[in-house]
């Protein structure tokens, strides 16, 4: 009995060691072993499968995305389980191919959308609270092409804009800065408005800094969580850059709404930003005409 116990005490660690050694088996050999085991058991699996599986359906006509009709070839008679498996797999293949094509087209569109306007990367070199507002200092200035009021992005989302420029450094005010205003648009209901910083700075540092967006209109269908993007009308940011998300909206007067907005970027995690070198195309607005000019053209 004692010898048996000792033997089993040795056997257990040996088996655990063997199990650990199995980790070293390469994946290819595991796949090979799996295939061999399945091949060896195929007659039994087929037997069990034929006993349990429903009768094989007739091969179906599947319309592919390019409008060509693909007919699945019939498998030889006498292998109903295999025929059924081939049908299922072929149908799955066509479905997956369609899904893949759709995802490729979507990802292509997304890549195009992710292309940022011309910009230069800048490191954040200092952060100060000036008049209760956080201001970031970056290591790029006029010598690098940074100009006053240039837009600043962080990972593709709007962080703020340049408020003062030196030869080799600049200061950036964040979206939550009380003096900030950017023309914005709700991404889903496409309503436009003006995104501004917080009117009153939070009393303590732990309080979340938010923005507000003023919208003129009788009705507003902004949903909490809806994204807000730049509209591009102010000439500093190209349209479509992410600004933040709606928290809630309230009616200020008959035709005015105020939306609370959580900005897209949290200033505490920012180390590197992109400063936009974007300048909007010049629009050839017609010259302002006087009443006399209008009369003379008539």
């Amino acid at each position: 009995m004692a010898r048996n116990v000792a033997r089993s005490h040795l056997l257990f660690p040996a088996l655990v060691l063997a199990a650990l050694m199995l980790f070293l088996v390469p994946e290819a050999q595991v796949n090979n072993l799996r295939a061999r085991t399945l091949s060896a058991l195929t007659p039994l699996l087929n037997f069990c499968g034929s006993a349990t599986r429903h009768p094989a359906p007739e091969p179906a006509l599947i319309t592919a995305s390019n409008k060509t009709v693909v007919e699945i070839p019939k498998t030889p008679a006498g292998t109903p389980a295999l025929a059924s498996a081939v049908d299922v797999l072929t149908a799955e293949l066509v479905q997956k191919q369609n899904e893949l094509a759709k995802m490729r087209s979507e990802s292509g569109a997304r890549d195009a959308a992710l292309k940022l306007p011309p910009n230069i990367a800048a490191d954040v070199i200092a952060r100060q609270i000036l008049w209760q507002e956080p201001v970031l200092a970056i290591n790029r200035g006029e010598a690098d092409g940074v100009h006053m009021h240039a837009g600043v992005l962080f990972r593709g989302a709007v962080l703020g804009r340049v408020i003062s420029v030196g030869p080799h450094a600049a200061c950036v005010a964040l979206l939550t800065h009380r003096g900030m205003s950017i023309t914005a648009r709700l991404s889903e209901c496409r309503v436009e408005g003006l995104l501004q910083g917080h009117a009153i700075a939070p009393k303590d540092e732990s309080e979340e800094r938010l923005c507000r967006m003023s919208v003129i209109g009788k009705e507003l269908n902004a949903k909490p969580g809806e994204n807000i993007v730049t509209s591009g009308y102010d000439g500093m940011f190209p349209p479509g850059l992410w600004l933040g998300a709606v928290i809630d909206s309230k009616k200020k007067s008959d035709v005015q709404w105020e939306i609370s907005v959580r900005p897209a970027c949290n200033e505490n995690v920012i180390e590197t930003v992109q400063v936009l070198l974007y300048s909007p195309p010049e629009v050839p607005w017609p010259a302002k005409s006087t009443k006399a000019d209008v009369r003379s053209t008539k």
Binding site: R7, F23, V25, L44, C48
Partner: protein, 188 residues
């Protein structure tokens, strides 16, 4: 030879059930980890070495068809069996169907809990919610199927004369008692 035959039958039965019969017959919520249940029955009813080797074999069977890394499930099966033996080997090896049943449920929970834990440590992508739901489903299925599996495995091992001596004595006594109740006399 009998041991090898029993192991092979367990291995093949577990594979057929896992890959073919269960997916066709039973809803996913009630598909048990049959290999582990069988292995634990072998551990409960047979001699300890045979039980441990059966657990190892069933682990390899499970690793072949349902593991993120070959060897991981085997290791978890062995560790779970080791924990159960360490905690309750006397109760488990009494030859009781109930003990094998509860042991199967506990082994299912332990082995898959260990699998998730070790998988996370090894850096495999384990989603907690999905993993928890799957483990719960396995535990539920082992509660449902544990007793029939223990009975079938016990009968099979009893028929092949692979049980450990005390367990065999107990099963034989129960069989004699049942036969006497039916008015028959059994030898042995």
């Amino acid at each position: 030879m009998r041991y090898a035959f029993c192991l092979i039958t367990f291995f093949v039965a577990a594979m057929l059930l896992q890959t073919s019969l269960f997916p066709a017959l039973i809803p996913p919520m009630l598909q048990p980890d049959i290999g582990l249940l069988m292995g634990l029955c072998a551990l409960a009813f047979g001699v300890r070495e045979f039980g441990l080797i059966a657990i190892f074999t069933m682990g390899i069977q499970a690793d072949l068809f349902g593991s993120a890394r070959f060897g991981l499930l085997t290791l978890c099966y062995l560790l779970a069996a080791g924990i159960i033996l360490w905690a309750a080997w006397r109760e488990l090896t009494r030859g009781d169907l109930l003990a094998a049943w509860i042991g199967g449920v506990a082994a299912t929970a332990l082995a898959h809990g260990l699998y998730i834990g070790i998988g996370r440590v090894c850096g495999y992508d384990v989603h907690w919610g999905q993993a928890f739901a799957k483990v719960l489903a396995w535990i539920l299925a082992s509660v449902v199927w544990g007793l029939p599996v223990a009975w079938l495995c016990g009968k099979w091992m009893y028929g092949l004369n692979l049980m450990s001596t005390p367990v065999r004595e107990r099963w034989a006594a129960e069989a004699r008692l049942a036969a006497a109740r039916r008015g028959k006399v059994m030898r042995g």
